[in-house]
């Protein structure tokens, strides 16, 4: 491998160039050769993919044009990220911020504008080098890998739980299974420190996809897939990681399609098809610091915390406004309480969200779920989950920022932000469904976003809501976000009811989070994405409830805002 010989590097860097324009291809090839790189050119994205699959590990980096007739450059990027995990540089003639943003979101490690200059190409080795560096670090830093694993397990548990709930069957039993699963892993973490890197060959990926299809996309869990795939040596982690990638991939595809439908302006709007109840999907994505070595979290700790949380949950259920007969719906899991996260880790922000999963599988929340099912009648709660991101590549990580800011932001986020001391937490919330409800949700989000401290970056990715009832108040959204705000400001972090009705749950722990050292983002870009998707928005149709709210968005003139204004939301996130 070219990297083996440190003195020679970056000479001989193996570059695959993909461009449908033969003239550019010729020029790029020449330029790269002049940089002493080993160049392979290719005029079609599909062919490029084929080459990459056939000659696995024969390339260090890919440079691809964005506009290609046979396959969108972004799609190629997805495939490469998913299958071979190579750094990919995108290029195009247009430097439209939205396009560049899209490239970065899809995992491009760089985005060059044509005409591309020699000096830019000469420098591309850095992406390869950076990646290698992180891989090495990843192996060396297995101490924190342990922690991460614990951390991940929690989330995976969440995932499964969520899926089970979605399946609406046997929640209890499966929950136990999951718990068992988690403890198993926790105990074995010490031994299985180094996570072997699995190369997802086409075959393996196909097996994976088959397994997913067999199980049904709604019900998949890493373990099930693993069992079905029956590949020796493959671990649950590997599968989980891949599953997550796969989900992200699918969701991006979906998003893309939707974008096409909704029009160019609405880039991040993901209006997820058929969902029969209101769903608030929050996903907090964070780029952990130095290999996330701040994960001093033990699952026990989390447990303890969530136990603390439990009574509180009970409380929230009992509290007044919710208790409206019939129509009222319980918060399903609107109970992420960042303040409960006591982990004194640099990743406090993340960890706080991690708690979420744990809440869910504690007893009270379980009952809540059940209740919710009955309360909401024909509308079963659904939960959407996302996996924590496992793979530690920068590109992928960036790819995970599915909810990065729009180009026209006042303070667009630049890659540099990722390395800035305060962690970038992006939060995306998506409620599914009806257009009408977007406007309901939006104003409040706006309000609370504005108040977010700069340390915290929140993107409301998409909000959609669909309810059987005409009045939908997604009060939770507001408060959830405000809890985030609290996170960064070091003040009380309340979530929904917690804020209104359960002041007991205040800031003791919140401060810990904020006090945590967030400065170690720079080098290690291993990303963890926390799926907070389990937060089912609690639906209430009760007018009383509205009055109880601090921000009653029905008073907000913005109410009338339509979808098209939605991007505004993002605009305010960084204000």
């Amino acid at each position: 491998m070219a990297l083996a010989d440190a003195t020679a590097f970056p000479y001989g860097l193996r570059v695959l160039v993909v461009d449908d324009d033969p003239t550019w291809l010729k020029i790029l090839e020449k330029m790269l050769r002049k940089c002493s790189y080993e160049v392979t050119t290719c005029g079609l994205a599909s062919v490029a993919l084929q080459i990459l699959r056939e000659r696995r590990n024969k390339f260090d980096i890919v440079i691809s044009d964005v506009n290609m007739p046979d396959m969108d450059g972004f799609k190629l990027l997805e495939h490469i990220g998913l299958e071979m995990d190579l750094p990919v540089i995108m290029m195009s003639i247009d430097g439209e911020t939205s396009r560049v943003m899209k490239g970065v979101q899809h995992g491009a490690c760089d985005y060059l504008l044509k005409p591309v200059r020699m000096k830019e190409l000469r420098n591309i080795w850095q992406h390869v080098y950076r990646k290698k560096m992180h891989e090495v670090k990843e192996i060396e830093g297995n101490d924190f890998c342990d922690d991460l694993q614990i951390f991940r397990n929690g989330c995976e548990g969440l995932e499964e739980r969520g899926l089970f709930m979605r399946a609406d069957s046997d929640t209890m039993r499966k929950r136990k299974d999951v718990d068992k699963d988690n403890t198993d892993q926790d105990s074995s973490d010490g031994a299985t420190v180094k996570k072997a890197r699995v190369v997802w060959s086409v075959d393996l990926h196909q097996k994976f996809v088959n397994a997913v299809n067999q199980i049904g996309f709604d019900k998949v869990g890493p373990k099930k897939i693993l069992d079905l795939m029956n590949v020796p040596g493959l671990t649950r982690e590997n599968v989980a990681s891949h599953l997550q990638k796969y989900r992200l991939y699918l969701s991006r595809l979906q998003k893309q399609n939707e974008e096409r439908i909704m029009g160019a302006a609405r880039q991040d709007f993901s209006h997820k098809g058929p969902s029969d109840n209101l769903n608030l999907r929050n996903s907090f994505q964070e780029q952990p610091g130095n290999g996330a070595n701040g994960f001093q979290h033990s699952s026990q700790k989390i447990q303890a915390q969530s136990n603390m949380l439990d009574p509180h949950l009970e409380d929230t259920k009992i509290v007044v406004p919710l208790k409206v007969p019939d129509k009222n719906r319980t918060p399903v899991s609107d109970v992420i309480d960042p303040q409960n996260v006591t982990s004194a880790s640099p990743l406090g922000g993340v960890l706080s969200f991690e708690r979420m999963p744990l809440n869910q599988d504690r007893k009270p929340s379980e009952t809540m779920i059940l209740e919710c099912q009955s309360w909401s009648g024909s509308v079963p709660p659904k939960q959407f989950m996302q996996y924590p991101k496992h793979n530690h590549e920068r590109c992928d990580l960036l790819g995970d920022y599915s909810c990065l800011p729009k180009p026209d932001l006042e303070h667009p986020i630049t890659p540099g932000h990722l390395y800035a001391p305060p962690p970038l937490v992006s939060m995306s919330c998506s409620m599914e469904g009806d257009v009408r409800d977007f406007s309901d949700v939006k104003p409040d989000l706006l309000g609370c976003m504005k108040s977010l401290s700069p340390a915290l970056t929140c993107t409301v990715d998409s909000v959609s809501a669909q309810l059987s009832d005409s009045v939908v108040t997604s009060t939770n959204i507001d408060q959830k976000f405000s809890s985030v705000e609290g996170l960064s400001s070091g003040k009380d972090c309340h979530f929904d009811q917690a804020r209104n009705q359960a002041p007991l749950l205040t800031s003791e722990e919140a401060s810990t989070i904020c006090g945590t050292d967030l400065a170690c983002l720079p080098d290690d870009l291993s990303g963890y994405q926390l799926g907070l998707n389990g937060i089912d928005l609690f639906q209430c149709n009760d007018a009383m409830m509205l009055h109880g709210l601090q921000n009653n968005w029905y008073d907000d003139p913005e109410l009338s805002s339509e979808i098209m204004e939605f991007p505004l939301l993002d605009g305010c996130l960084f204000a």
Binding site: T23, W24, K26, I27, K30, S92, K114, P115, M118
Partner: protein, 151 residues
Amino acid sequence: MDYSNLRRQAASMKKSLFDQGYLDEQFCQVEDLQDEASPNFAEEVVTLFFKDSARLISNIEQALEKYPKDFNKWDAYMQQLKGSCSSIGASRMKSECMSFRDYCGQGNIEGCMKSFQKVKREHGVLRQKLEAYFQLLRQAGPAGAATRPAM
């Protein structure tokens, strides 16, 4: 004929191409890539460009007929041509491509058609001029001579 004289002619021709906006800096970049390993690199690239851009132009021509008023399609095709223009720094042609795309954005069919004719014209003119330029260079002797001071 005197080689240095030919070289001078080539240089002044190139300068006028720049002055009249036919070419931009990218063309120099391409010329700079020329070396012993590929002494005719610039000419090869330019030849390739004209071959490919002719194909793209005929694509656009077909699209204009086949998909009337399908501005998105037109735009996409023109985008390709524009990208191609940027490769050799054919700046006048490129800016005409851009105005075509602007007309697409406005839904101005007439503008598109006019603009497309201009693109074709620019393409033809540039081809002629560059062919003459490379011919001069070839006559002037060994490759790269035009960019080096006369011995």
